[in-house]
Symmetry: C2
Subunit: 189 residues, 2 copies
């Protein structure tokens, strides 16, 4: 397993995730899952729009410390999302908004792969109209309602063609050895 | 879009999802997302272990009625999960437990594709040991912590090689026409 694992640098272009509309009480678990997918599927960081949720950050940081990513994964909260999108585009990055109303991922992912860096926007309930307008790509993971968690995972999996599942975390303290029937966890360092 | 859409019959083998450990208050949103992924990614039905959660069922049925699936998608609650697994295996079906401790999906998915039918188990927090033992396959979507929502989506996407994103729902009342920047919803019937 370890011998075939790949480095973060092999997942290009670099991706950051912008989470819109997080409501600390209601979205506690779903936003945690969004962050876990971002980390596990090879994003370099995540932004939480408008809200600061220290409990969420603390929970997520524990995962980074145990399973790896603490040395590079950036989590920033309380950001102004429209400002961030404009700054991102000003720097030449692409902005991808995941929405069931958008274009099928398989039609646009090749173009997105040629961006210098990618900001992926995932909403909670209703996403304000402006994000449909200021994004470079409105992308659908199927045109059916499902979840921002699954949409983000499938998007990153398409972008990196499945290689992200072999990502290794050099600063991990825990490592799983895949097994047919048990739980094998290796403690490192 | 409609011209290239595929029928449920083209997604073989048939898949059902078994959700373990649902706690109505805490997992309300995550279990809803699990059900939405099951439907959108081509499962034929879902079982909720042990618990009956009428609110969850009512919310999900609204989606089935609007977006399609009501004519075939089976949702059963309060089932005994060990009994279900044993019954399933007795009928010759395969049981796949999604867990970060399991074997990489890309190593086992070809074998799973040759099953006559598949029951996919997704847990909430800690899954009792017995499910590791009575499943035919313990399958990891990457050996990192993320989410049962993303794990289920990637598993179904691997099983059906992306075709599930083009699934059409013959009994849908609403249909999205993919668009670059807007929200185009067609009302049918």
């Amino acid at each position: 397993m370890q011998s075939t694992c790949i480095n973060l640098d092999e997942l290009q272009p670099p991706v950051y995730v912008l989470r819109l509309g997080h409501r600390p009480k209601r979205d506690k678990r779903v936003t945690t899952h969004v962050l876990l997918v971002a980390r596990a599927f090879g994003a370099r960081g995540a932004y939480i729009a408008e809200v600061v949720d220290e409990e969420l950050a603390a929970r997520f940081r524990k995962v980074l410390e145990r399973w790896g990513g603490a040395s590079y994964f950036q989590l920033e909260m309380g950001v102004d999302p429209v400002k961030l999108v404009k700054k991102w585009r000003g720097e030449g990055g692409c902005v991808v908004h995941l929405t069931m109303y958008g274009l099928p991922v398989d039609e646009v992912v090749d173009r997105i792969r040629s961006c210098s860096k990618v900001l992926v926007i995932v909403g909670a309930e209703k996403v304000p109209r402006i994000f449909y307008e200021i994004s470079d790509f409105n992308v659908a993971i199927g045109n059916q309602p499902h979840s921002e968690v699954s949409a983000l995972a499938i998007f990153l999996d398409r972008l990196w063609q499945g290689r992200e599942l072999r990502l290794c975390f050099p600063d991990a303290k825990l490592l799983i050895e895949p097994s047919e029937r048990g739980k094998k966890v290796i403690k490192l360092g």
